[in-house]
Point group: C2
Chain length 196, copies 2
């Protein structure tokens, strides 16, 4: 049987089953048992793919960031740096159903990470990678002489990162108060406020 | 016995026991049983104070916002509107251990709220109250003629709210990457960037 099915594909199916449970019941609904059931698989079969619940959780969490990364890497640079940066940031924001799921699930994993070392490590890596991405975005504008004079680049990278995460948090938890248009518009106007 | 102990005080002790479990084990460690044990009380005694687990959770969550509100209400306005606003926002931020606990516990409740209607309602109320607070802060500056011309007050209130929550999230989950000084400094410089 293992020869007929794609091992990685099965792992992804199990991770997606975990995402569905998280969205429906919250993180505390997730167990190896409930994930196996959600994926229509026996607990014994699940054990072929994940030895422990932490391993399943870490893989499911990593799949969120891999998915976002893949989209970011597919982005191409153009002659319009501001729009490039908006598209880069847009991949992180819940602007369609796929990204909304990612944001909701990522948030649940981030909170879970406080008590699960494997997830904490991943969250730390992703936080650092994103901070680096925001830093590059600010440098990108600076290198083209587009940035306002006297801008503190480290502070602005940290601020843009926090603003984006705050907006994602607000739209994900309170979509009727903070809309998709609000968050896209605020990021866009913020990036433009940095230009000279 | 009920005559000798203060009913509200007991409820608060149980809520604080729930906070400790959340900080130590995450939300999924919380049950009426674990909270009773943490508070050194029998399950039967806990039932005198809370009929259901949801009621216990809602009370514990509300206690966070009540505590923050009480501090905010105690703030007095001075002749320095910018410093007043910084103090108001400071009460929401994890700038000391008490506020760090509040931020960590609030975050866990916010994620739990996605699947628990009682918590969702409270989270919605608090989000609205805070948004109103940020709106008032912007108006406060506008009414004194301190705000830059052409500032979109609704957008700036929403942005300030998201920035503060994003910074709280980053410091709470990644204190070694985003320090207390960083978040206090970024809020301060942001508020000042709105002034003319």
């Amino acid at each position: 049987m293992p020869k007929l099915v794609n091992h990685e594909e099965r792992r992804r199916q199990l991770a997606e089953a975990a995402w569905r449970i998280i969205r429906r019941e919250g993180m505390e609904g997730v167990s190896v048992r409930s994930v196996a059931q959600e994926a229509g698989m026996s607990l014994g079969s699940l054990r072929h793919y994940f030895d422990t619940q932490s391993e399943l959780l870490a893989f499911s969490m990593k799949m969120v960031s891999d998915q976002v990364n893949a989209r970011m890497e597919a982005l191409e640079f153009t002659d319009h740096p501001v729009e490039d940066i908006e598209r880069f940031i847009g991949e992180l924001m819940p602007l369609d159903d796929e990204r909304h799921t990612e944001a909701e699930v990522w948030l649940a994993f981030s909170v879970k990470a406080v008590t699960v070392p494997e997830l904490q490590k991943l969250q730390e890596e992703v936080h650092s990678a994103l901070y680096e991405g925001f830093t590059k975005a600010i440098y990108y504008l600076a290198a083209r002489g587009m940035l306002k004079e006297g801008v503190d680049q480290r502070a602005e990278a940290m601020k843009l990162h926090a603003l984006v995460d705050g907006l994602v948090l607000h739209h994900t938890t309170r979509p009727e108060q903070v809309s998709r248009e609000d968050i896209a518009g605020l990021v866009s106007s913020h990036v433009r406020s940095l230009l000279q």
